[in-house]
Amino acid sequence: MGELSLHVSNGKIFVWNAEDAATLREEHRIVGKLIGCLPRAPRQNVYLGLPLELLPEETSLLLDKGVAKLVDDSKSLQKPYPEQVQELERFRQIRYEQQIELCREARKKELYRNFNRVKEGKIAKHRKQLEEHQKAGETIDDSDLENVDVDIETIPSHGIPRLEKKHAMVQLFTETPWVDHSDASQPVPWTYPQTELEQLRCRVFTDLWEKGHFLTSGSKFGGDFLVYPGDPARFHSFYIARCLPHREQFTALDVVAMGRLGAHVRKTMLLCSLGDNNQIHYTSLQWSGMS
């Protein structure tokens, strides 16, 4: 199917395509975070829309597994070719003309639907006119009153006003509609992870992901990652993963703080560190109430 595109923009990684975002979640267990306004309801904070922002660890993982490739978005701001401008204008013009036709058709359909009422109205009007003539003394044949009929074709179709350009619907592009003509042989540089802590985080992320978990950012609970047994939409997380250097000392106060935090939110605190044998050690912390 080809690699997914991850877009680099001012140092952050975004996914702009809804299909790709769905694939990442369903097939590759990468959750990310939606940060844009939702098109159908832009003024609420409950459900946000595209773009999907990825953690740098998620990006590193996807690049390593060969699932995705990076695209540099700053190139899309270069001066467009004149043909590009023309193409878009022509595209919009075509859509506008198509909408004129659709509008006319819709109006006609509406008239057909309401034709019975229109017909009744016209007949009633005609009858009234004849009755007035009768009152005025003219002799009218009674059969005329019965045979009033209105032909659908007499409704003038040129009476339907033409759709104005300003009333045309226009699509505002979320994802850039331009084809990416950038050179595929020049890969976009990706310099994460750099420091030891970043490398540790990356290792821990990859390791936990390979074990089949879903992982998201853990800053809500004071940790590095939240570890879910299944899709975060359906399950609560089991662990709060916290990456610590293997040999660094921390005080008992830290232990109490972490333990309490985990206990309060019903999760297990998972301390992750890189041991001397280049293996990741997981230490869980659970507050056992002794009473």
Binding site: S9, N10, W16, N17, E19, A21, A22, R25, K33, L34, C37, L38, P39, R40, A41, P42, N45, Y47, P51, E53, L55, D73, S76, L77, K79, P80, Q84, V85, E87, R90, F91, I94, R95, Q98, Q99, E101, L102, C103, K166, H167, A168, M169, V170, Q171, L172, F173, T174, E175, T176, P177, W178, V179, S217, S219, K220, G230, A233, R234, F235, H236
Partner: protein, 528 residues
Amino acid sequence: MDNGPCSGICKESLDPPLNSFLKSGSLLSANELFRYRKSRDKAPPQKGGTKDYAPDGSWLEQKKLESFHKERKHVLSEQRVEMMSSLVIGEWNQEKQLVEFEREIGKFWTHMGFIDHNRKWLYPEEALFLMESGALEVSFMGVPLSIQQGYTAFLSESISLEEYQVYAHLRRHGYVVLRHQGKIDITKYEREIGLDQYIDQKLRKRKIVTKGTEQISAIDNDESNSVCKKMRETYSCSVTRADGSGASATDIQDNNNGAIIGNSSLIGKQPTDNLVTKHKRTEWHNEQDDCFHFPHSRWNFDDIVFPDVGSVQHCTLAQPLKPYLPVHVEVSDFTFDVEEYKSRRKPNRNDREAYVDPSLLNFSLEMPKHGPKVTAQNWTDYKDMLKNGCLQEQTDVVSPAKHLWEEEITPLVRPTDATSTANLLEKLQVIQNVNLTKQSAGHFDDSLEISFDVYLPDLHFKKSSPGIPNHRVCVLRSCDGVTDLKSLVSAQSSLRDSAPLNLAVIDCGEIVFYTFTDTTLPVDITMG
């Protein structure tokens, strides 16, 4: 993305060689566009609900997951479709990092954007938010920008992604969010008495705040010569008119060039000015009065206590302590009789000036016989002396504990301080409480960069005089260090108003707000 069944009239195929630049995947067909004319489903999908404990591989669980994924994909792939007539069309200006537009539609102009030189501008975060809401289309070099391009272009120099996320979050909640305007010069007292409405509108024009960049300063250098020249011209014109002398224009220009540059710094602008504000200053200088016009009073009326003369019958001021005053000055208890003042409030204009009630004059015309033993020269000295309590050195109080005061370390309280428990406790309080809203020592600490002023949504909100914000927001990333209390206190207190400071900590899309507030520990006074 399905193209949909097309009727015989609507041709889906486009003329060749189209689609060499446009991707066919995300383009909506005319049918789909047309469907958006009718009212569409605007309800955001459900979020939340009970979750299961652990995956058990059941069919039901699979079904629920599938329906969630399907709904999510459907909602996310919806496009923004608007009628042309309800769209504002704007143009992105890369050098200024602003969006310019001509005609506003809708109500956003009441709380977004600004005017400069009769042109309407939007900040990049405002423009991006309007684009995401489907109210604005921004074009750049002849082509309308997509939201993806907007994120790349607008969030590069002037504002960062984290700041934009906090901005959008607050905006979606409904707040009015403006860039941080700095200290508001209008004091609370002036606001209380309604003086703020009469302050010159021009002086309080909303500061245009952009972060200095190399590009902008480059343009400034080119323009600043013309700006200086213009200022020189206006100033030199006024000087020759006033003089009427035949001094050569060049002399005056050279002399005054330095003066003008000096003047501009007096106005107290911050160094990150941009082209736009420099133009505004020349407008001010065109009026001769404004050359040396300082902003209005800087007295801090929070600290100055005015006796409330209007609501009492008599107004009494405490008598100053006699030993501290110079010898030949005598004061008595000052009582101001409000009733009497009110009754004779409108004497004759002539009388008022000449009238001096001799009984109110209360100083002795005698010169002191012995050498003046002046202690306090002015009120500042008096207050200092009072604070240091050096009165005690002059009195010859014999106290059994006198030896305590002979060393370097002296007691904090004296027997004479025991007027009340509260007084005593106040003297004992060596560690001063930090008060976030009281003013700091005076110097402005900008180590904490405040990003936004946030106001509650209000029908009467005016951009030109927004007033004191509901709160201010400083945006921090979770990987940044924790700020220390000193910079927090000085940032908050140097602004000198009651709006609290919220810290927005953001980590890959998750935003949490923190704030620090004053607490005073209760002082337990059980006796006296």
